[in-house]
Symmetry: C2
Subunit: 461 residues, 2 copies
């Protein structure tokens, strides 16, 4: 059980644009500061995602409630968006697999199906309501603020459907929200709806190891203990300001260095694994929303890398051409899964001669060989790469990956000179939506709306 980060391919000894000895030397003191800043953030209580021990009681409450609840359920539905959905999607992909919901009760080992509704398209909302067995469904309404328009709309639709069928809301809905504030907390108290806490000091995109992720995980029978143990081990490993001893710091430092010195600001994450493929969009949110903002260090100029999700081997047939021969503005991080306990041999008895070379090899072996070949080909083209290796795609390693990327994001925030914990850039869009929907508090947005550049009919083709 281990996670290793091989950064050899990011160095000048491997690729011409890689980190030079001089750059690594310059990074030294900078990284000591970045790590001290992280410790200062932690000391003032800003990094709740690291405080796994402090959250043990609430986690136990989740596990104990879920143990009672799970056996009566056919369907669990996450109603959430962004950080309230992406973690559940990564957990589902890694620990249940792609066809989970198609299995019958027996094949699922008596565990429920899991649906994640992360949008407000009426077609999807209807499809979900039609697909679940309502009397045996629990809807998890996940919104820290309790004011997320998309999630609250979904909640209202579910609430009406339940009521119209005389199904008690408190027996079919649970909330994951702020411990004290917001609409959901008030409704929970008034109506006796089970409610679990997102700690005040954990923002949405850092919340997968709180009830935001552990509640669906527990209801689906995932190993929450292993998830937290893996995260704890990674946190404890990332305990120094030395690049060579702290993989999360090394990841952040080498990405920032590649961006700063080689203009490589597009950061691809490419798991060679269907199980881990949804880790990539989860990372995209974390990296994009934490780092893409105006930097005080850069006179309010917009900074931040652009993360891209890919999956191997699939994207060898989609994005890899661009990574190989397009502009040299990218780094590529692979995730390699070393063991496939469900390995399947490629059978070549009676196969055409052209396919004989596949014989005796396994699918997992093919996946890993393609990953190594693609990394090699990229290096050959001078493209910088890293590889994160995990022994298996299981709960322990997934927890480790979550913590790894969360810590790296804090370090990167300090290197880029931005606050990785806020997201000021999404407010304007929300406020304009409120205004357009007639929200009484946002009538003042009328001027802003009216001043926006208008569509010109002459340029509508």
């Amino acid at each position: 059980m281990t996670i290793r980060l091989d950064v050899s391919g990011m160095l000048a000894r491997a690729v011409a644009s890689g980190a030079t000895a001089g750059q690594l030397a310059d990074l030294g003191p900078r990284l000591v500061v970045a790590h001290e800043e992280l410790l200062a953030d932690a000391a003032r209580g800003a990094l709740g995602f690291r405080e796994l021990e402090a959250q043990a009681d609430e986690r136990e409450r989740v596990l104990s409630w879920a143990r009672e609840e799970a056996s009566r359920l056919d369907d669990v539905v996450v109603l959430g968006i962004g950080g309230s959905a992406l973690g559940a999607q990564a957990l589902r992909s890694a620990l249940l697999g792609r066809e989970w919901n198609l299995g019958d009760h027996h094949r699922r080992g008596g565990r429920p199906r899991l649906h994640v509704v992360d949008n407000v398209d009426p077609r999807s909302v209807r499809a979900m309501l039609d697909a679940v067995n309502l009397p045996h469904t629990r809807f998890l309404v996940i919104s820290k603020s309790g004011s997320t328009a998309e999630t609250m709309s979904q909640y209202l639709a579910v609430r009406e459907r339940l009521t119209s069928l005389d199904l008690p809301v408190r027996e079919h809905v649970a909330f994951v929200t702020d411990p004290w504030k917001g609409v959901l907390r008030r409704v929970a108290a008034a109506e006796g709806i089970p409610a679990f806490e997102v700690p005040e000091n954990v923002g949405g995109r850092f919340s997968v190891l709180t009830p935001v992720g552990t509640l669906p995980a527990a209801l689906l029978g995932m190993d929450v203990g292993a998830l937290i143990a893996g995260a704890t081990a990674m946190r404890d490993r990332c305990a120094s300001g030395d690049l060579r001893a702290n993989p999360a710091l090394a990841f952040a430092a080498l990405q920032w260095n590649a961006h700063t010195h080689a203009g490589q600001g597009i950061h691809v994450l490419m798991p060679y694994s269907d199980a881990l493929r949804e880790v990539a969009p989860w990372f995209v949110q974390l990296w994009a929303e934490s780092l893409g903002k105006r930097s005080t260090a850069a006179h309010q100029k917009g900074v931040g890398p652009t993360p891209i999700a890919a999956v191997g081997a699939t994207d060898q047939h989609a994005q890899v051409q661009l990574f190989m021969e397009g502009p040299a503005d990218k780094t590529i991080t692979f995730i390699d899964v070393e063991e496939h306990p469900d390995e399947l041999v490629i059978p070549t008895d009676g196969a055409p001669a052209e396919l004989a070379y596949l014989g005796g090899h396994g699918f997992g072996e093919l996946l890993r060989a393609e990953g190594a070949a693609t990394a090699g080909a990229l290096a050959q083209m001078g493209r910088p790469t890293m590889t994160l290796s995990v022994t298996r795609a299981d709960a322990w390693h997934l927890g480790g990956l979550f913590m790894f990327f969360e810590l790296a994001t804090i370090y990167a925030g300090h290197l880029y000179g931005v606050n990785p914990l806020d997201q000021p850039g999404v407010e304007l869009g929300k406020q304009l939506t409120y205004y357009r929907f007639g929200h009484p508090d946002w009538k003042s947005m009328r001027e802003t709306w009216d001043a926006l550049p208008k569509s010109d009919p002459a340029w509508v083709l």
Copy 2:
């Protein structure tokens, strides 16, 4: 029924970095040439994806075979990767919806489930084999060359499973492949397996309107006639070298202009629609693999934009912070769906006062309001945007979108000075995989493999 492209937000009158009158004037003669080049490509037969009439006979063969076949099926499985899978995934998302496979026979109107296996992870391959009802399953093996390692491995696994159950391969497998060449064509002839043609002059990523897409579409009861009619209408509309009269040319030109003059080389496609969300990864392959390559016009330097898939409203809570406040290196293209025939009103009877503003509005209306608000907010921040509006997310409009982006890609190829129809950069990775797997034809790759930069244990953290 119409598709419109609003490019107002890409112009200097809307955003400071937008196209100026001078740039538009410079584009004029360049675009006349790009269109002439496209016509020349077409004249020499290189653009088979436009030749929808010439493919009518094979399409009729697909429809007629599917009519007989579909009624006996519970499951259709696409075995393919890259261009052989992404089109089917876009069709599934748009025309079946997210929970299709969960519906029983009755709710599906007697139509089968659709699975797309686009990778070689043993866990997924096993899960698929366990999920389908094998005696009532047809596997569509889609590979133009017939040598794609991933697809051939899947095919061999399926073949063995069928044989072990005494199910005749020819009754459970169909091929979509080159009309003349390759392993699959030979096996089809020898074993009487139904085989359909990818025209010689249609490459994988341009093939969704050939049997690569129409065969799964027909088996699932999608309206293939409408799909082709929408594509034909779009092709016929894009018939001049005038930016104002040709939306595909305008899209390509304004993206290229933004990249060239404003450094905006990251091109986001963001449908505000769950139905159309899989159009974005399909576009990513098309744009990345067609344009990301060495340019003869630029002394073999790597050129090409980096496409990014997003989905509204979901990504407002993930990537939009970066698009708003990060570096000004992106353009954002929205897809707006004007009509939601399955609109669902957000019910606010008895809802908390804070949510009353949602009352009387619909989910589809919320989705559209959020799209307009996000476009407005981006414009306010000086970010260039375009909006593609489709009346509905149905087969006709989907066909139109496919053709729109395919034509735009050819125009963009000419503007960037690359051949949009090849993908030389993926060969090295394939050859290294063959070598590692002991393929007899690729022993010569040993030197290349051995010369690659090696991992340095001192840098494995």
